[in-house]
């Protein structure tokens, strides 16, 4: 109905351009409205509630929202809490570096293959990316478990019955396994875009292979390196499933520490403050990425 009226208006009104623009704006806003409202209700408001809770007081019966204070943030400086924060930053960093070291040569190799091979290689990277994360982490539990394949392997080569489960190594291994595709995909995308003539020119001008890598390829693929690092570092810092399946006492990451505050310690204000910190880390990482010239994640 509205369309008919509009069509006629377009035909007879000289200023139809103007009214058409207004109509278009309204139509765009109407299309966006449901999702907009949904995200305001289920994302923006919940985020506000987290911020409010982080200034609240924990009481014997739950959380008292009336007296605002900074106690939860002050606790971030406690020795115990600081240990957890530093350790999770360290484990997340280690995970990121291991992923980078494995993924960079892999992505470069992939970018140098024929189109057919490249697509095939990409599919086999996408499969783990789509596969259930919990199941993939659990697979390592089976491998590293008592008398499992890993310990059988180590005793077969005469290293005794190796035990990795519930150590930091197991957690980093699980995180690398889980997040490696997040590193490969952006790296491949940016390496593939590098103009091969630049690398040839560098070699023609007597640069060594390593020199070409360090001074041409690496700087040009930096957006991929940064995007991949953020996509691995942030979820590693916030990891909860991996440390609770493969980790032990000394493997708490920020993510699992936050979960503990809510599901067992029932300290909502402190948990909210920790979540806020994680959110800030994520937002700063994203800002750095966009500053460095990245456009899409």
């Amino acid at each position: 109905m509205a369309t008919t009226v509009e069509t006629i208006a377009e035909a007879v009104t000289p200023e139809f351009e103007h009214s058409n623009e207004r109509l278009r704006r309204r139509r765009g806003a109407l299309l966006a409205l449901p999702a907009y409202l949904y995200l305001i209700i289920f994302f923006v408001i919940p985020f506000g509630i987290v911020v409010v809770y982080s200034f609240a007081t924990r009481t014997r019966f739950g959380t008292d929202l009336s007296g605002w204070n900074l106690n939860s943030y002050r606790r971030l400086g406690d020795d115990l809490v600081r240990d957890v924060l530093f350790r999770s930053a360290w484990l997340a960093l280690l995970t990121t570096v291991v992923c980078l070291v494995l993924a960079y040569p892999f992505s470069y190799y992939m970018a140098t293959r024929s189109e057919r091979t490249r697509n095939l290689m990409l599919v086999f990277v996408m499969i783990p990316f789509w596969t259930n994360f919990l199941v993939r982490t659990y697979a390592w539990r089976v491998i590293l478990g008592t008398d499992g394949p890993y310990s059988q392997l180590t005793s077969a080569v005469g290293l005794g019955s190796g035990r990795l489960l519930f150590t930091q190594v197991a957690v980093v291994l699980g995180l690398v396994y889980g997040f490696l595709p997040f590193m490969i995909l952006p790296l491949y995308a940016s390496i593939e875009r590098v103009d091969p003539r630049l690398l040839e020119a560098s070699r023609d001008l007597y640069a060594t292979g390593f020199g070409t890598f360090r001074r041409i390829l690496l700087p040009l693929s930096m957006p991929g390196v940064i995007a991949g690092s953020i996509l691995v570092f942030v979820p590693s810092l916030g990891a909860y499933v991996t440390p609770s399946i493969l980790g032990g006492a000394k493997t708490t990451l920020l993510g699992s520490y936050i979960v503990t505050q809510f599901l067992s310690a029932r300290d909502f204000p402190f948990g909210a403050a920790l979540s806020f910190v994680l959110m800030i880390v994520m937002l700063s990482a994203t800002l750095i990425y966009f500053r460095k010239g990245g456009r899409t994640l």
Partner: protein, 275 residues
């Protein structure tokens, strides 16, 4: 046809090839091991004790596990349907129109994708706790589905946007020049052209919903559980061969969805080459 970057040869080339095989071994060996041991007749999950199908039978007999699977599917279907509609509408709005608040909306749409799931879980836990104290409802199917929609909209929107941005607006204009109404132009031109994007987005939303553990665990109520949360609970109590079997079933579901998404991708590629 050769690749776009200089192809390394000699020792470097061999090292790179070795690294690639190593990465694939790393990706797939654990999955293969898991599948093999799910058929192992031993109480110890990592020890081979001869072939059996007992653990799959256990799954068939476990009312809890099957109930959790049904719940997972219900949530995944419901949240995908809503997310696809809202996500596609938002993608069209952002790609095709200018309106007030567009920049903020654009940024807001990206946030659920990059926020760690623990943070999102905390946000929704506190939100539903406050909402329940105001309106009084019990947590379960509704709260889980509402939460899954909250993160799925963004993924659908991003996938559909990629498709729309590669499509010329002139197609719709041409249709309307040929006297198609706005609705007809959408139905017969826009929708078919962006359909591969919508399918891809729907499969992604469905997969993410089926995979989610953390957010679901935070917003679920007593007595209502999805398959991943049920499995996660079992793992923390102690590993059993039943978990191996359920894991393999979830693995097969994932693989099926990958296959479907590859088909959708292929359809997308074909249309791209026609245009």
């Amino acid at each position: 046809m050769s690749g776009s970057v200089v192809r390394p040869t000699g020792k470097t080339g061999r090292l790179l090839a070795a690294n690639a095989w190593l990465v694939y071994l790393f990706f797939y060996a654990p999955i293969v091991v898991l599948v093999i041991y799910s058929f192992s007749d031993s109480r110890n999950v990592g020890v081979w004790g001869g072939f059996t199908l007992d653990w799959y039978e256990d799954f068939g007999n476990s009312r809890q596990a099957k109930g959790a699977l049904t719940n997972s599917l219900k949530v995944a279907v419901a949240s995908t349907v809503v997310a696809v509609v809202l996500g596609t509408m938002s993608a069209l709005a952002i790609e095709r129109y200018r309106f007030r608040g567009r920049a903020f909306f654009d940024a807001l749409l990206y946030l659920p994708v990059i926020v760690p799931d623990v943070t999102m879980a905390v946000m929704l836990l506190l939100f539903f706790a406050e909402a329940a104290s105001l309106f009084g409802f019990s947590k379960g199917f509704a709260t889980i589905t509402l939460s899954h929609i909250a993160f799925s909209i963004s993924f659908v929107s991003i996938v559909v946007r990629a498709r729309i941005s590669g499509m010329s607006e002139q197609l719709e204009e041409a249709a309307m020049d040929l006297y198609a109404t706005r609705r007809q132009a959408f139905r017969y031109v826009t929708l078919p052209a962006i359909m591969p994007g919508i399918t891809g987005g729907a499969l992604l939303a469905f997969t993410l919903s089926l995979d989610d553990v953390v957010i679901t665990e935070f917003v679920t109520g007593p007595g209502w559980t999805t398959l991943p949360v049920f499995v996660f609970g079992l793992i923390r109590k102690g590993v059993t061969p039943l978990i191996n079997a359920i894991s393999v079933i979830m693995l097969i579901a994932s693989m099926g969805l990958v296959a479907l998404s590859l088909l959708a991708e292929r359809a997308r590629g074909d249309r791209g080459s026609e245009a």
